[in-house]
């Protein structure tokens, strides 16, 4: 305590000049943004697409100095709505367009599979879509129902509202609800972490994030490999879309063609998605 009362605060003039300096730096950086702001693209939508869109935008902005690309999250529906209302030039969607939305122009930028994962020591290699649905609906609670050693099954899902969960519900659950006794984790990484350490767990994550810590199951005999996803054989596949109000023009068009160019596609594949070519 003593040292505290004795310690000398910086004298006022020095503090004042420090504040001034900070203000100066702030205003300078604000200027910089405004100068480049002449050319801006706003991308809004799916949080599943967001990290990939950010990566693409980062690389593209380096190639085109003076261009500013804003990437925002908010979810697929919010992104599509933003495009309809003109708030964003490009909407990112990790689900298909429905009804009225079909009037918009869509471009598939990549494919993403959802892998069902278990612990590497689990003897199971294949699972049918119907069994998977029963497991996540809470109908099957024990591994013995699949012919394995009897033990409680630990079902792991994502939080309500997550893009991966929404896609999983659409592709697997067929309007049934995921059981409330399922454990809920808030990221692909957390789900993988639990499955990697729990021999009795089953969960689902984006295919790009499967590594040797976990084992991806074949669904109805089809493994979630790049080739199978591309040929549309693997059932738990979703498309990542860029949605625009009409055929894209100008900056949006240039960015879209960059994403679909070999360079953009290689970038996406390096991040774990499956390219469209």
């Amino acid at each position: 305590m003593k040292s505290f009362t004795n310690s000398r605060f910086p004298p006022l003039p020095r503090l004042f000049s420090f504040v001034l300096l900070m203000l100066l730096i702030l205003s300078l950086s604000a200027c910089g943004q405004r100068e480049r702001g002449g050319q801006t693209i706003t991308i809004a939508g799916s949080t599943s697409v967001q990290p990939f869109a950010e990566k693409l935008a980062e690389v593209y902005m380096k190639q085109c100095p003076g261009l500013l690309i804003n990437v925002q999250g908010g979810g697929s529906s919010a992104g599509i709505m933003a495009v309809q209302q003109g708030a964003a030039q490009i909407g990112a969607s990790s689900r298909e367009l429905h009804g009225e939305e079909k009037k918009l122009h869509e471009a598939v930028i990549a494919w993403d599979g959802i892998a069902v994962i278990v612990h590497p020591s689990c003897p199971l290699d294949n699972i049918s879509l119907a069994t998977l649905r029963q497991i996540f609906a809470g109908g099957i609670k024990d591994w013995s129902a699949l012919g394995l050693k009897p033990h409680g099954m630990h079902v792991i899902t994502r939080e309500e509202g997550s893009g991966t969960r929404t896609a999983f519900e659409e592709l697997v659950m067929d309007k049934m609800e995921i059981t409330p006794s399922a454990l809920v984790q808030d990221s692909n990484g957390a789900v993988r972490e639990i499955v990697a350490h729990d021999p009795h767990a089953i969960g689902y994550i984006s295919c790009g994030l499967v590594d040797q810590q976990v084992k991806a199951l074949a669904i109805d005999g089809v493994l979630p490999t790049g080739a199978n996803i591309k040929k549309n054989l693997y059932k738990l596949t979703r498309r990542f879309l860029f949605v625009t109000a009409r055929e894209p023009t100008g900056l949006a068009q240039e960015f879209c063609s960059f994403v679909l160019s070999p360079q953009g596609q290689v970038l996406l594949e390096k991040e774990g998605l499956i390219g469209v070519h």
Partner: protein, 280 residues
């Protein structure tokens, strides 16, 4: 000179008011955002409904209210005996030189970020529970144990202060009458410090019920009402933090409404603590 003093006084008053003002703003904001959905769903449906599927229009948070209460109770069961034992030793039995080292060390526990507790829980505690007790490991038990440790510094340091506030004269009188030191502590110091110790426990409770990060990491966040201590649970705070990232519309409002419920619970706890402390 006088005007300058007045000026400083006013400036300080303004700063003090800004703290209260931000509390008022937070309160108003939470209620404005959350009340509509409670009114729409109906208060009893919202609080006593056990079905939470916000994107499909079901907003019942009973499971989470119960989970929050169970986790807090569990934390008290593990934490309070430990904390009281520790406080009694440090306040009454340990030589002052030892207390001078131990007390700051315990208070250091309060400075460890909750995410570190959660991480340790996931890495050390959860596998132990999974291997030796069964279940997924991420459970009510894990959350209670972690929170039990997290409330230690709060309960210990306030209890020590309460026991120190008991006049030394009382103790000397008791010893002079032939009571042993333990009898003195049990029959005299603890009853005399009772209101302070209860305040300490209630503040610990507030800390436990409000903790978020560590709980998200070790509790598993399942939505069902737990039937055993090895079941996974989701607390009110975890619900807000988990889902806020993606929530929009009614879902978002429902999360704010969850915040209202939490707010009211914590208000009740704090008011109780103030009343008990004031009764001395």
């Amino acid at each position: 000179m006088l005007t300058r003093e007045k000026l400083i006084e006013k400036a300080l008053l303004l700063l003090a008011l800004s703290a209260i003002g931000s509390l008022a703003l937070i309160t108003i904001f939470i209620f404005l955002e959350g009340l509509p959905i409670i009114l729409k769903t109906g208060l009893s449906h919202f609080i006593f409904g056990a079905h939470w599927a916000p994107t499909k229009g079901h907003f019942g948070i009973l499971a989470m209210i119960l989970s929050s209460l169970y986790v807090t109770l569990g934390a008290l069961i593990f934490g309070v005996p430990l904390a009281l034992g520790c406080a009694i030793v440090l306040a009454e039995f340990a030589p002052p030189s030892l207390t001078r080292i131990l007390k700051p060390t315990i208070e250091l526990l309060a400075g460890i970020p909750s995410v570190v507790y959660g991480f340790l829980g996931v890495i050390l505690l959860v596998p132990l529970i999974r291997t030796y007790l069964g279940g997924p490991g991420l459970s009510l038990l894990a959350a209670s144990l972690i929170l039990g440790i997290m409330i230690l510094p709060t309960v210990i340091s306030i209890s020590i202060d309460a026991m120190h506030a008991v006049p030394t004269l009382y103790r000397e009188g008791s010893i002079a009458l032939g009571a042993t030191q333990w009898q003195t502590v049990r029959k005299l110091v603890l009853p005399a410090a009772r209101s302070g110790i209860i305040t300490a426990i209630i503040l610990g409770m507030g800390r436990a019920i409000g903790e978020t990060m560590a709980v998200i990491m070790v509790a598993g966040n399942a939505l069902s009402i737990p039937t055993s201590i090895l079941d996974s649970v989701r607390t009110l705070t975890a619900n807000i933090a988990l889902e806020l990232g993606y929530a929009s519309g009614a879902h978002r409002e429902a999360l704010f409404a969850t915040g209202i419920v939490l707010f009211i619970i914590i208000m009740i706890l704090n008011t109780a603590a103030t009343l008990i402390a004031g009764r001395r």
